[in-house]
């Protein structure tokens, strides 16, 4: 692999890594929202029954 090829690969990998990190953050956020929603649903049920 030439020096140019190494740098070009690095640039493309930086972009790919950024997209992957973003997707991981979004996935974590969706997981947190899911937990919050479950908690709120439970709270709403308790309020209605009690």
């Amino acid at each position: 692999m030439t020096t140019s090829e190494k740098y070009v690969t690095a640039a493309y990998l930086v972009f790919l890594a950024a997209v992957l990190v973003y997707l991981v953050i979004i996935a974590l956020k969706v997981g947190r929202l899911e937990q919050d929603l479950a908690e709120l649903t439970r709270a709403a049920r308790e309020k209605r029954s009690g």
């Binding site: 020096t3 140019s4 690095a10 930086v14 972009f15 973003y22 929202l33 929603l37 709120l40």
Partner: protein, 217 residues
């Protein structure tokens, strides 16, 4: 939208690496152009959308534009950071330096990036409410002035190092390079649009949940 973004980006990158010819002067290193420039243009587009939404907020007073403006600027800063990183890598191969202060376009882009990075400090230094929304919107609108200045700087200044591909006479590229570039640009814009929608949906759900939590308390 997500499928279109993936398809366009994979197709565009494949075309740029495998099909588009190598540049006569820069050789293989010029291949960074196919992601660096679309990322930079996408960052400008995100800042532009952020400013447009800010203007809509100030014009109509509709609070939903605040979240839309914030999301667009957030994405613009991410794409701006990627522009600086990929640009630095390209600069290292082409010029032998990671950064040069002598290039007005680079410095102006850095100023634009730092300006919008500061947006978050301003935003979170005030309590949530209409004052914060108005301040953020005015700040976002001021920043948009830097976009044409940054974009046109290299053309006005007559740069030495930073290449100018798109001039008044059109694109200084062979058809195959231009096609690969356009597909990469479309893919990058589609990716930004997808991320914008996903992030905005997440923030809206988050806000609704907060409101619901307060109602149930």
């Amino acid at each position: 939208m997500g499928v279109a973004a993936t398809g366009l980006l994979v197709g565009g990158i494949a075309l740029s690496l495998l099909w588009a010819p190598e540049d006569a002067n820069q050789g293989f290193s010029q291949k960074i152009f196919y992601i660096h420039v679309p990322i930079a243009l996408t960052a400008y587009a995100c800042f532009g959308v952020g400013a447009w939404k800010a203007l809509r907020l100030l014009w109509t007073g509709d609070r939903r534009y605040d979240l839309e403006s914030y999301t667009a600027i957030h994405l613009g800063v991410i794409f701006g950071l990627l522009t600086l990183v990929t640009g630095s890598i390209w600069a290292k191969i082409s010029w032998g330096h990671w950064w040069t202060w002598g290039e007005r376009q680079l410095v102006l882009f850095l100023i634009l990036f730092l300006f919008y990075s500061s947006y978050f400090m301003l935003r979170y230094s005030t309590d949530p409410g209409s004052r914060r929304e108005r301040n953020s919107a005015v700040y976002a609108l001021f920043g948009v002035v830097l976009i044409p200045v940054s974009f046109l700087a290299v053309r006005i200044a007559g740069t030495i190092l930073h290449p100018t591909i798109f001039t008044h006479e059109g694109a200084n590229l062979p058809g195959s390079m231009l096609l690969a570039f356009c597909i990469c640009l479309a893919g990058m814009l589609a990716l930004a649009a997808t991320l914008y929608r996903v992030e905005l949906a997440g923030k809206r759900i988050d806000a609704s949940m907060r409101e619901l939590r307060e109602l149930l308390a």
